[in-house]
Amino acid sequence: MSKEIDLDKYRSIGTLRSGYKKSTKVTYTGYGKSNQVEHWSGRKDANIHVKPIVTRIKREGAN
């Protein structure tokens, strides 16, 4: 039987080792066994800002 642990709950009382990110899931796998730890990158956005394309009509000469 496994059980997911709410990391934020333990983070708040300081029992969670540093280096664990919010996107880390620890699954308790039973007494005396190593907990299963999964990391994932989480959400990633792409915010692209583009400059205008400018087309210029150029006049040749002074007149």
């Binding site: 956005d45 692209i48 205008p52 087309t55």
Partner: protein, 160 residues
């Protein structure tokens, strides 16, 4: 080869000016599709080679995924404005793009903006292509936004 610049497709511009195509920059529906860095945009190419899923713009090099469909996303608010962004200039602008919860895993470096309304003589004819400046973009369950400049997507300066 790869992306190196943004530009308007010359043949599309010529086709609009000489009435070869009925593309209407104000009322047609335009779409924006994303592309990898394995293409080399040719702004002098023939009309049939600047359309979506032709020439450099074949779907093999398109980036798409969850909540960003193949073929791209429809633009809205496209309009021409005379005397903008300054006197003697003609601006073509669209509403900024923002699609939530997208996952586009294939890295994209630029986009094609093409007409999705006109079917003949060339369907899905490209109007312009925008290079994102060399940055590789992907998304993972995130917002994919393209913010156009306040001076528009494209403007023509006709009073040199």
């Amino acid at each position: 080869m790869s992306w190196s610049a943004s530009g308007v497709f010359g043949q599309t511009l010529a086709d609009i000016l000489d009435n070869t195509t009925a593309i209407d920059l104000g009322s047609d529906t335009f779409k924006v599709a994303l592309y990898t860095n394995s293409i080399t945009p040719d702004f002098d190419a023939a009309a049939a080679s600047v359309a979506y899923d032709t020439g450099q713009w074949a779907t093999a090099q398109e980036a798409y995924g969850t909540n960003w469909a193949q073929g791209g996303v429809a633009l809205s608010g496209n309009a021409l404005t005379v005397g903008s962004p300054a006197a003697g200039q003609l601006k073509w602008d669209c509403t900024d793009v923002s699609e939530a919860t997208t996952t586009v895993s294939t890295a994209f470096y630029g986009c094609l903006i093409y007409d999705d309304t006109i079917a003949t003589p060339v369907a899905d004819q490209g109007l312009l292509a925008i290079y994102f400046g060399g940055t590789s973009y992907t998304t993972d369950t995130g917002t994919l936004s393209i913010t156009f400049d306040s001076n528009g997507v494209w403007y023509l300066d006709y009073t040199p």
